[in-house]
Symmetry: C2
Subunit: 104 residues, 2 copies
């Protein structure tokens, strides 16, 4: 068996930095593919491919507007990540305290 597909879940989809940047750019307003490509300074092809992954896992949705596709953030799929990682909050603050104590 190989590595799980990037389209398996939000965890895998979001492991790629460019896709995280795309999601960040979609905060607040929808954007076209070329708008994203321009902001990220990457080719249209690349952005389209990343958007497909994000679409499959449900982190973005598309709307047709003439010859453009406007992508919108659908952040609900990020909640499971937040929940899982949040379960460790007490542990990293604990490590931080320990480090602080040591520095003192």
């Amino acid at each position: 068996m190989a590595r799980a597909a990037t389209t398996t879940d939000a965890f895998n989809a979001v492991a790629e930095p460019q896709r995280r940047r795309i999601l960040t750019l979609l905060k607040g307003r929808e954007r076209s593919v070329n708008e994203l490509a321009g902001a990220l300074r990457v080719s249209q092809t690349r952005v389209s491919k990343h958007l497909r992954v994000l679409r499959v896992v449900g982190l973005v949705s598309v709307r047709e507007a003439g010859q453009q596709r406007l992508y919108t953030l659908d952040a609900r799929g990020l909640k499971p990540i937040h929940d899982w990682v949040g379960g460790f909050e007490e542990f990293w603050s604990q490590s931080f305290d320990r480090l602080n104590a040591y520095v003192k």
Copy 2:
């Protein structure tokens, strides 16, 4: 270029479900490799490999105890994930009404 290595950062390391389970098992107390393998019902080889990835990205640390290796959680590396995902919290509560969330 291929997919980024799993050892690149916490985002990639944590994209694999078995590794998330390992981290969850390490909450609270350190465990040996065989203890983890037993709890997860997977081979020792598999667990060792996953532990190496977690070690490289700094999410666990090891302590030698005779012929055993006791692994400890170091959750600090999860904070960047929590921070990044947390930046979307306002969006998943009212995901269909983006503009509203943004104005807020």
